[in-house]
Symmetry: none
Subunit: 416 residues, 2 copies
């Protein structure tokens, strides 16, 4: 089965926006067994959209379309698709009710032009949009199915996973089963992972094994194929066990799990509480931790102490320390972690201090120098790191390293 991805939006052709939807859809459609022919992006123009639909429909069984379902005048996907398929648009009452409810919940008046977002080509099946106002739809045109969703990534993804994915699985009725799992690792380089598991990475091996890097996390990808889901699972599990044996505790989680999820799981398993003291990460460690649902049971507080005065007042870091070893030091990180742990009464705590740049570096303490300390009731351990890249990348890598130190400390301590 052949498929195409079609992105609609003049902004995509002006270079201010990088289209991330296409990469997401490409991965998902490949997983569903579709043979992806092309990704096409055109502006909000009737003629170009008709051209794109025509060239894409010529050879493919499926066209997944994103964008152009907004309420404004330049959004023309809905109308053009209906016209291309030779059917009128009709009001879909449940979608209109959903739009009204979204506005009511946010206590804002619904402008009249939002009504268009509940209009659906006759004969199409509605794809519900839990995160937004634009209804999507699926429509057959000859042998080609056209699936239209909004371009807002959070809306599109929820619709794809909630409706499109099960729908495609049913439609393809796939005989062979393919399962993918990612094993996520931190604190090791991709080339070292490659060296250690090279013997499992032959191109035609089943399960097939590869590596990828994203935002400082190394993921080992395992693709297992089988006639049944049980068979594929069994193969995948065996390869996963082998890789875990080799790589050990650098693996912190699977699939979309991030280091903070591993930390939250360990806190829960061990019944421990945590607090965070940050300087250069500026709240990012706390933000990542509080992205995990129900973390409020284990996360007590975070302090972002940018100024030295705040480090002393909020965390009890001795003032003398700033004039001797300085605020960017192992001692300061330790004092921050100890301070927030003792004051909050938490079982464990982490302290982060460093220079995120682009200014503020010196030859002795360059941009990217970061100290991280983990404090438990038993001991406090500090480590020095050197990160490269722009400010936001140094913040991100520092926060990941802090969470990883927290994870390893939690894994090591059976009880507080």
């Amino acid at each position: 089965m052949k498929a195409e991805i079609l992105s609609i939006g003049t902004e995509l052709l002006h270079g201010k926006i990088v289209d991330t939807n296409a990469a997401y859809l490409a991965e998902k459609l490949n997983e569903c067994g579709f043979d992806l022919q092309s990704h096409l992006a055109v502006g909000d123009s009737r003629d170009l959209l008709v051209w794109a639909l025509k060239v894409a429909a010529e050879r493919s069984d499926l066209i997944v379309i994103t964008g152009g379902l907004g309420p404004t005048r330049d959004d023309i996907t809905r109308q053009t698709l209906a016209e291309f398929c030779g059917v009128p648009l009709e009001l879909h009452e449940p979608s209109l009710a959903h739009i009204r409810e979204l506005f009511a919940r946010r206590r804002i008046h619904m402008p009249e032009n939002n009504k268009i977002q509940a209009m659906i080509p006759r004969g199409a099946t509605v794809i519900p949009n839990p995160n937004g106002t634009a209804a999507g739809f699926a429509l057959m045109n000859g042998k080609t199915e056209m699936i239209s969703m909004p371009g807002v990534p959070s809306e599109m993804k929820a619709m794809f996973e909630g409706w499109v994915l099960p729908h495609l699985a049913e439609r393809t009725g796939r005989k062979g089963v393919k399962i993918t799992r990612l094993l996520n690792a931190y604190g090791i380089s991709e080339s070292l992972v490659d060296e250690k598991i090279h013997h499992l990475m032959a191109p035609d091996r089943n399960p097939n094994v590869g590596t990828m890097v994203h935002d400082g996390i190394i993921s080992v990808r395992i693709n297992a194929a089988g006639d049944t889901s049980a068979e594929a699972s069994k193969r995948l599990d065996a390869t996963e066990a082998e890789i875990r044996d080799i790589l050990g505790d650098v693996i912190f989680g699977t699939d979309s799990e991030d280091v903070e999820h591993a930390v939250a799981r360990l806190l829960k398993e061990r019944g421990l509480t945590v607090a965070v003291a940050e300087s250069c990460t500026g709240g990012l460690v706390a933000h990542k931790l509080t992205n995990v649902p129900r973390i409020s049971e284990f996360f007590l507080e975070g302090v972002v102490a940018y100024s030295n005065a705040a480090k002393t007042r909020l965390l009890g870091v001795p003032e003398a320390l700033f004039s001797t070893v300085g605020a960017v030091s192992a001692e300061a990180a330790s004092a921050m972690a100890d301070g927030v742990r003792q004051r909050s009464g938490s079982d464990v705590a982490v302290g982060v201090t460093g220079i995120a740049g682009p200014t503020g570096g010196t030859p002795q303490k360059p941009v990217g120098l970061v100290f991280i300390a983990v404090s438990t009731r038993r001991a406090t351990e500090a480590k020095e790191f050197r990160f490269a890249g722009p400010r936001t990348m140094i913040k991100d890598r520092s926060a990941k390293a802090a969470l990883n130190m927290l994870r390893l400390a939690l894994a090591g301590c059976g009880a507080p």
Copy 2:
């Protein structure tokens, strides 16, 4: 003059890679005055590449192609382009010398298969690649010029800026110039923006105006065309002024600016300091603010007070408040903002409390209910918000709303 962008590479259709070249080229081609028709991505397949060249060449004067110029077996752009244009490949000696030199400089033996990277279709002009081994080339096919460059962004950009840009300027005689600007707004719905500036959004108007939404931010896109860059600028500025007049202070910045950049700019302009007290946003407001370089001059501290005990100890929120109006209330948000402002000694402060979900909601206080307060030396103002979506989205929208309230308060106060 019409143009197309064509990206070649099987990896682009497997979703592990986001194609950033297309956004870069789109912006540059628009600036050169080209009317970009589509962006097309296909895998390293002869048939698909021929198809893409055919549909793109049908209507356009220029096709900019990236990818598929590597030395390996799956790189087929060079051969397929020559075949499509009906000319043979010929060795380009200076390019081969350049490749040999690059290998010699890195003290590695040059594999035989790298020679193919110096082969050029007969009649083509070579585009030098200062950063890599693959030579690019420009080739006329009928009225369409085909420009082929490697997909590695650093190589492609150097080649585009060093050779393609001057070449296109000469070819077009720089008669047309196009400029794009985004005006970013917060605190208004896309449909309301549309209602207010609908009269400026006619499809064939110059400047052309459209709207788009990304992560809760509404952007008004203005594209202005002119014979000279001064003429296009003048037109763009006039339309921008008109839109700013209509939309007023919901516009906080341009192009890639976020709300935190507007806040940082106002803090700097007015010489004021800020502190942050967060509950449901869990550090995200502080994180966003500290993404701005040099914010350390204006940002004093942030407190993430998840537990009630932390709200009282760190921010001075009266305990009695929790049993009367509750921790999720306008009163609590105000007490948090006042507390962090007074204790840190900052000029302004923001407090955020709410229910990010997915659990913890009640019929009276549902998931998505958020109170935000801004405290200045003159007054404290609190507002109630209702956000929808998953936990991370509620955190993001709450943080943006908090920064926006901060922005409006800062814009309003001439002096602290």
